[in-house]
């Protein structure tokens, strides 16, 4: 599903975020990206989403070399990739349901589809009773559930998560991880960058550890360190 071949990403001023990273992630896998701040986890995620292009090396997503993808095709790539973040990125003036529906509206899905899928996904993330609330009326965990609903409403093949529990307390984090696990069980590939030792050690999934841009460990059913 995802394949990196000797991927290097450097920024201006000789900063190397990723140095010759290679990895192969299969369909339906759940992968943790761990490592200290600045080790290249976020760059890894941004490269998969084509928010950045590699300086060298090749990245394949669903069989396509996304470094070669022309820019008008990038939106179609992103429709197959859901993204969630530490800061949720919800629109404050839209309700829960509107935030989720927005993701379908802006890619031109018809209303009848939106009206069917939005309640279904909000049911899945457990927010059926809060559809008309605004983001600032929700707890952090609930906001992250909205953001997961938005990322997953289009049923993407891949879900990328950059520190999704970074702003949440441990108990809430467990709930979010259960949800991501459930999504993973539907066959969706999940790649999650995290600092959360407890989560990694409990879940016992594949762990890719980065240090100063290099992959120093790639372990099936691994722990944080």
């Amino acid at each position: 599903m995802i394949k990196l071949e000797e991927v290097t990403k450097s920024y201006k001023g000789n900063v190397t975020a990723l140095a010759g990273a290679s990895a192969d992630i299969g369909k339906g896998e759940f992968v943790f990206l761990v490592g200290p701040s600045g080790s290249g986890k976020s760059t890894f995620i941004r490269l998969l989403n084509r928010e950045e292009r590699p300086s060298s090396g090749k990245i394949y997503v669903a069989g396509k070399d996304i470094g070669q993808l022309s820019s008008w095709k990038v939106p179609y790539l992103r429709r197959n990739i859901g993204c969630i973040f530490q800061d949720f990125k919800l629109l404050p003036k839209k309700t829960v349901a509107e935030n989720v529906a927005y993701a379908l509206q802006v890619i031109g899905r018809p209303n009848h589809v939106i009206q069917k899928q939005v309640p279904a996904i909000l049911e899945l993330v457990g927010l059926s009773n809060k559809v008309d609330r605004f983001p600032d009326e929700l707890s952090g965990g609930e906001q992250q559930r909205v953001s997961i609903a938005r990322a997953f409403v289009n049923r993407p093949l891949i879900l990328l998560a950059d520190e999704p529990t970074g702003n949440l307390d441990p108990a809430t984090s467990v709930g979010i991880m259960r949800l991501l696990d459930r999504i993973n069980r539907t066959g969706t590939t999940v790649v999650m960058a995290t600092h959360d030792r407890g989560i990694v050690d409990t879940m016992r999934r594949r762990v890719i550890e980065l240090d100063r841009g290099s992959i120093v460990r790639d372990q099936a059913r691994g722990v944080y360190e």
Binding site: R78, L91, V106, N111
Partner: protein
């Protein structure tokens, strides 16, 4: 498709509304720049119309009698061809004189209906080699007494003055209008940039979930184009008012009755109106495309 159009419409107008003060400034600047541009064009047309007979270096006109004989005509032509002081001349026959008359009195159908080509005198429009006033006057006098000649007309100093002043007015207004067009362009650019800034989060989310570039860009581009379109549309009544209140005033003035032809025909005004709206849209499109391509890449 209808859904997309509705989105485009609501997004464009919510941007314009959110940005109301800057939008108004942009629209007014577009309008004023186009009013100046339109005025410049009108002055040029009016001067051309007032001095239609005196363009292209023509320094005097020999009017023939409407019933001048072919021999009389031939004699005049021979003189015109042979004189070394004459560079060029054109013959305006009765039919051409009638066309000219129709154009000049386009807005006066009563007069047009009552005039028949046969009563209009044909004429020779003469371009002398030396445009010096004394030389021209002497040259023109040679034709006054010839057989078949009805009269010889020389442009008066007033007409030359009109041409000169008209040129000055129209080039100066053109210059200032161009400076204002640049200001309008920059204002539109800024209006669009501010709209983009105000919707950063939405743009981020749209990119994230895979909205196409055009879907994201079009509302912002439309915002600029609407400014240009409104500015262009508003400039038309303003230019029309200038035409009524200044240009027509001059042409009907008793004091300067030489300037009866100083006017802008309806067809010319329509052309100017189209040019103004077109220019407004072009400037706005350029400004907003620039803003979008500077700040809305994938």
């Amino acid at each position: 498709m209808i859904r997309k159009l509705r989105y485009l419409f609501t997004a464009t107008f919510s941007n314009l509304w959110r940005n109301a003060t800057l939008t108004i400034a942009a629209i007014l600047t577009v309008m004023i720049s186009l009013v100046l541009f339109g005025t410049s064009l009108m002055v040029r047309y009016a001067v051309d119309n007032a001095t239609a007979r005196w363009q292209g270096g023509i320094e005097f006109v020999v009017w023939m009698n409407a019933d001048a004989s072919p021999q009389q005509d031939a004699a005049i032509r021979e003189t015109l061809d042979e004189s070394p002081q004459i560079k060029d001349w054109t013959y305006v026959d009765q039919e051409a004189a009638y066309q000219e008359f129709l154009e000049l009195f386009e807005d006066n159908p009563e007069l047009r209906e009552n005039v028949d080509p046969s009563i209009l005198p044909p004429s020779y429009r003469v371009v002398p080699t030396d445009p010096d006033a004394d030389v021209v006057a002497e040259l023109a006098d040679q034709f006054r007494t010839r057989a078949g000649v009805r009269s010889v007309a020389l442009p008066t100093e007033v007409i030359k003055e009109v041409q000169r002043t008209g040129d000055i007015i129209s080039t100066r207004t053109l210059l200032f209008s161009l400076i204002l067009v640049v200001a309008a362009l920059l204002l539109i650019l800024n209006t669009v940039l501010i709209a983009i800034g105000a919707r950063r989060r939405e743009i981020e989310v749209m990119k994230l979930v895979g909205a196409t570039n055009w879907f994201i860009r079009l509302p912002f581009m439309f915002e600029g184009v609407v400014c240009g379109l409104l500015g262009g549309a508003l400039s038309i009544p303003a230019v029309w008012w200038i035409r009524r209140s200044i240009i027509e005033e001059i042409s009907s003035s008793e004091a300067i009755n030489l300037l009866t032809g100083f006017r802008v025909a309806d067809s010319e005004f329509q052309f100017i109106a189209i040019v103004l709206v077109g220019l407004g849209c072009a400037v706005a499109t350029f400004g907003s495309v620039l803003a979008v391509s500077l700040h809305l890449d994938v």
